[in-house]
Symmetry: C2
Subunit: 245 residues, 2 copies
Amino acid sequence: MQRMSPVPPPPSRRPGRPPRPDNAAMRGQLLDLATDLFAARGVAATTIAHIAQRAGVTPAMVHYYFKSRDQLIDAVVMERIVPVIGFVWAPVPLAQDVPQAPIPDPAAGARAFIAEIVGRLVQCAAERPWLPALWLHEVVNEGGQLRERVLRHLPSDRLQAFAGLIADSQRQGAITPGVEPRLVFLSILGLTLLPLATSALWRRVWQADPQAQSIDTQAIAAHAIAMLTGGLFSPSAPPPAPPGR
Amino acid sequence: MQRMSPVPPPPSRRPGRPPRPDNAAMRGQLLDLATDLFAARGVAATTIAHIAQRAGVTPAMVHYYFKSRDQLIDAVVMERIVPVIGFVWAPVPLAQDVPQAPIPDPAAGARAFIAEIVGRLVQCAAERPWLPALWLHEVVNEGGQLRERVLRHLPSDRLQAFAGLIADSQRQGAITPGVEPRLVFLSILGLTLLPLATSALWRRVWQADPQAQSIDTQAIAAHAIAMLTGGLFSPSAPPPAPPGR
């Protein structure tokens, strides 16, 4: 997948090293550790003391940077999660994505847009292994500790525009009948973040199958894009004739 | 969706009425209440006392039927969840599903099979409103209290046969390249149980849109089947020509 310029590179971090005497770096390092622990153990089970211990600093040091646990949680949302939302929903330069389209194709725009959104999501997840677990356990999950704080930052105008693009394409006959435009983005999450967040689970179910163990982030991305843009069934295989024809 | 004979009808229950003096009915009623509470509040937060209170009986009465909280949880798994797994994975009578297929079509079998599995899943979820939440919070979720007990009952032979059917069809060119056969069942769950389990969440995101509020279980089923069997894009819309043609 092509690396895109608007995504900030994940901050470098070497857990074994003592923190550098640099305020911004130290703060960023603590935020990264907090984010990792939130994803691995859950927000509710992670205390300032855990983060301090993992960072090899005193709890007072963590408090110095974040004042309170609540402020730390806010910082994780604002500085780690909200940038991901901003990146995924940044405007998609449609024209340059389909320069070779020989004829105007009502589906081409939607197709390119969806492939782009899926690519961005998977890129974010690949660069931030904490993302799928945090999404599933702390946002989607009833009682998730980050749900309210994250929902506030969902760009509802862009979600609506996205559903509107799908609905328009559907009216033009380019989107499969029966597809509900408002559920498409959730379907994308269900085909990307869900398998990433549950990989420990399905690897156990498929434990006797070495090929299943080797399904990686790229294979999940390819699967999601294939399912979304092609469906399960190759267009070369004719669909069964409708009854009564 | 056609109602199928092997699914047991959900037991009738009138929460407002005092329990009938019938052991089996009383036990079933307590199990139903426990299952509903497990789905609504989570297993960890639901005590025998809550169930007794909701049923209008003493905790001793709940203990009489289930001995311990652990035994009650086992009963919910064995008598409420395992039958759903058994129903979803019961053999699919392929031949009678495609009587009108005019020519042998390698995709028709897989297509009918998948539509049948999706239909069964959605039927189960429609008849058992607790199912999607229990799946998400107590099985998929890290630390879910039912995960180990449910995993034991997944029919791995059938899951493997299902993935094998997809892989065979893919080798014959009938399944979209890039689709990972072992991820197809999880994709089905992501397109059915995930939107059902998160409906409170996405209804909030779409709160200004009355049409979004009216998306019901049948619309979710239709969306899932459309996405799975057709993909997003109608086959009538030609895909963009590959670059360089």
